[in-house]
Symmetry: C2
Subunit: 554 residues, 2 copies
């Protein structure tokens, strides 16, 4: 761990023009400027931000590469301290961050305060994971000189960080999936420097968080190249970032077109790299017959559904865009309740005029699609870019025969699909492509529903990353067991999760030392186990004797 440059305090005067933060220093961009737009008014807001030209990007990636030399050798304690310090620095700026994000994104204060807490909790969770060190995946097989027919050498496997990671923040989570969000936290926890491409929809929010990260990096005496925040146009600087030979992996949350463009760039490099893109999902919900057998249940379900649909203006990756409901009286009652409920719902400001426009077009496509009827529609919000929530319906045959009906409409728009039988329900489920989530509502006391749910879950398991029961898919718990992923096109790589502690594994690869002299071994694979890691020794999981010291004195 070294710090080659004196740390500089980053300018926070928002009346001035703002710049990229490259290895702790402001860098004025030569690629034009941008300003945020307040989506509630459609007017520009906040200071100008200069944009880097693609030639300037190398300053950030070179610094990251240089920083990797020392940061990859950071102890668990050092990494943990850095992540904790970032959380603290973000909390110090919490009020400013939430206020700026409200103006730039149109998201309400309570939602952003919750997201801020989730972001800092996530950083602290990864600080603990870094200290625990299980992700280092240590496997030791001591030498067996007497083994026949061949002796076994001493073998010590550990996982090491891949190198500098390019992170693309999401529009819809300006904190938890952005500058210091899950991708950044997991990459830093793994020992990888990060270059974040700022999202141009919330540049001021990103800059405040970038200052927080930079301040923590400076305080912790980590090489400043461990973190940079770059502003630029996605089509050039974003593609440049993925093509840059110093970048070894990419984390992205955004549209399918954006994600697949980055995947293509990464695959075409002289040295291809992994892209972890979380892209699009309609998050199907299946309401089984007995879940709505009673009137009160139908009303309660409808309320829960519309709340999940319209929360954050429907702009959550896991918002329910598709709901399968049986025909017959109970299903009709549920749909009637949904119609009544959505009629009382009010549109909220969407993140950007462009996102609102795409959502309006998507809703119009559904409204004019043959065999699709409008079930209900709320009222527009008082601000600009606050379209009315809308629910449509169709039947399974039409749904299965019209692939476009499965496309995500990002916003508070949902399609109800009515089915006549369990067979139709299962055929609709088989028709699904990769999704982040699927939800089953059932009566747990009804054996027929339980059987349906088991058959459905077996199909859905092949198609989604998370299956939930008697709940709503929005809201993703950040812990050890979460999977926020799923087969393509929900993500670029269904073998990974972008939320939860397993996200750290995306940025590591294994290496083994064979018959290495003890002085050459790094702490993770030494006999003494100075970091008190849980390790697999001779095939057996071996818990550490005591809490690790995390390498504080190693």
């Amino acid at each position: 761990m070294q710090n080659n440059e004196a740390s500089t305090s980053v300018d926070t005067d928002v009346s001035e023009t703002m710049h990229s933060i490259v290895a702790g220093r402001e860098l004025e961009g030569q690629g034009g400027t941008t300003r945020a737009v307040d989506p509630a008014t459609g007017a520009e807001t906040g200071p100008e931000f200069t944009l880097l030209s693609s030639e300037q990007l190398v300053s950030a990636t070179s610094a990251a590469e240089e920083a990797f030399d020392s940061y990859r050798k950071a102890t668990p304690q050092q990494i943990s301290d850095l992540l904790t310090a970032i959380a603290e620095q973000i909390e110090n700026r919490g009020e400013d961050i939430v206020a700026t994000a409200m103006t730039e994104t149109g998201l309400p204060q309570a939602r952003l305060q919750g997201e801020l807490a989730r972001t800092t909790n996530q950083l602290r969770l990864f600080a603990n994971v870094a200290l625990r060190g299980d992700h280092l995946g240590v496997r030791i097989e001591p030498a067996l000189p007497e083994r026949s027919p061949l002796p076994r050498p001493d073998l010590r496997q550990k996982r090491i960080p891949l190198g500098p990671v390019g992170v693309f923040g999401a529009s819809n989570f300006p904190l938890a999936f952005s500058v210091a969000g899950g991708d950044t936290a997991s990459a830093l926890a793994s020992g990888c420097p990060v270059v974040v491409k700022a999202h141009n929809a919330h540049p001021g929010t990103g800059h405040l968080v970038g200052e927080a990260v930079s301040a923590a990096v400076a305080d912790q005496d980590v090489h400043p190249g461990v973190f940079s925040l770059v502003y630029g146009r996605g089509a050039d600087i974003g593609q440049e970032l993925v093509a840059d030979p110093r970048i070894r992996a990419v984390g992205f949350t955004g549209s399918r077109s954006g994600g697949t463009a980055l995947m293509a760039t990464a695959a075409a490099r002289p040295v291809p790299i992994p892209v972890y893109a979380e892209m699009s999902s309609v998050n199907p919900v299946f309401v089984l017959p007995s879940a709505i057998a009673e009137g009160s249940t139908a009303e309660e379900l409808a309320k829960g559904f519309v709340t999940s649909l319209n929360g954050s203006a429907g702009q959550l990756c896991t918002a329910p865009g598709l709901i399968f409901v049986p025909t017959g009286n109970a299903g009709d009652e549920f749909v009637d309740c949904v119609a009544a409920e959505v009629a009382t719902a009010t549109g909220q400001t969407m993140l950007t005029p462009g996102i609102c426009e795409a959502r309006t077009q998507g809703a119009d496509r559904l409204a004019t699609s043959a065999g699709v009827n409008e079930v209900g529609r709320g009222t527009e919000g008082q601000t600009a870019n606050a379209p009315a929530p809308a629910v449509f319906s169709t039947d399974v045959a039409r749904f299965v025969g019209t692939p476009e009906l499965s496309d995500e409409v990002f916003g508070a728009v949902c399609l109800i699909v009515r089915h006549d039988s369990d067979e139709e329900l299962l055929s609709a489920a088989k028709n699904l492509v990769g999704e982040l989530t699927a939800t089953i509502h059932l009566s747990e006391s009804d054996s027929a529903d339980l059987e349906r749910a088991a058959a459905l879950a077996e199909l859905l398991e092949q198609r989604v990353g998370r299956i939930l029961f008697n709940g709503w898919p929005t809201g993703v718990d950040v812990g050890d067991a979460m999977v926020h992923g799923g087969p393509y096109p929900a993500t670029s790589d269904g073998r990974s999760t972008s939320v939860g502690t397993a996200a750290i594994e995306r940025f590591l690869r294994p290496v083994v030392f064979q018959n290495a002299p003890a002085p050459v071994l790094s702490a993770a694979i030494r006999d003494e186990n100075p970091w008190s890691l849980t390790r697999r020794v001779d095939g057996v999981v071996t818990l550490a004797d005591s809490a690790g010291d995390g390498g504080s004195d190693v």
Copy 2:
């Protein structure tokens, strides 16, 4: 687990024309025929094999997809039993397999007997891993209804198999990296059906092993589509296999051109899939000054080096193709010993005339390269296609300035690179691209060597999958800690290993169940832990109370 078709015994009369084995039945190919060539004579040998047309391939991939429905739900015990049965069936045919492989590959009997044992040991190892079930990666977070500000739902993560896997056998390991080799064993262990593209250089060997696998599948009452062995031309049927939408992952061992072609096909699919290609490596060896300070050491080292270089005619993925030696007296003495040693070495039959031709061209390129001198050359073997082992030398400046000198020459050809200083040594190491292995020879009692080794290992860790000390890279131990991988272009995906139990993780992805009713949960994530898995519960690794029953009665 189900068996939709009566099992059929596969025809073993080698006087007849042979066919692909698709889901336990022979399928006559409509895409022409091929015969093996005995590389020791250059003459055709053995029966004709019919080749599938690309239209016929779907019979195998469809059967695999159908089999996946039941095989993905196989218990650990069922998977373990299948792998064990395959090992037994191979052993039953051991003599035939070795005899056929000797004719088809030119490899000597002892080597093939060893490889057969390695193959069956590997299957039994994976049988144990399947039973242990750690690769299911279970993480459970019980509900915390009182948690503030939001309750935690019950979350249960497990890993599930990706789906049918396409496997491409290697030319140079007709058993351990072929029809029932590491890719097949790890894919079957993970719960994935396998379609193997037979290597046309050893069709008879492949067919015997394919019969063994098919017999085991039939005996164990597993759906026959779990295994198919298809013959065809690589440029069409191989690409078809990777492009087939029913195939969800690919394992490949072979050339860089072959591997990168499959990577491109996989990335261009409507639904991209992972390709695990083990491609090429020069496996640099670094001889540090004190390792050769004494004359006897130089001679011993030279003997070890030439044995490793010329074993299996240099056709091992980990054969040492590059060796860094200091200038000065000790280094000169080592090079002299190498020259003497290689002069006594005799060429062995290479696998195919094409491989021999490419090796000869590669050696000629080195011989005529400016600044490269021949150090020594052995004698040609008595058979066809048995070129003389050859060693060349150059200096670091030339090596760093001539990228082609780092290209793999597949065969017993090595380039010695002489360096004047530790700085030159490190600069040469920095110049390396992704490799499977790197080897350091040092005197463990010399502190200067230990320091050099530590600095070197730190650089090499970034560039290779395995670093070994005071040994030779050929010979790969198959266990829990092995990494047979490394950054591109050694492999397509440095995050994985194709040897050892971690190979199984390539074919799995995570899924989480949230608030699932108990009857819907599969055994791996039930509270009762019927498979006695080691699981992470509430963040803590929890060892099973007792040995699992593997689901024998679940």
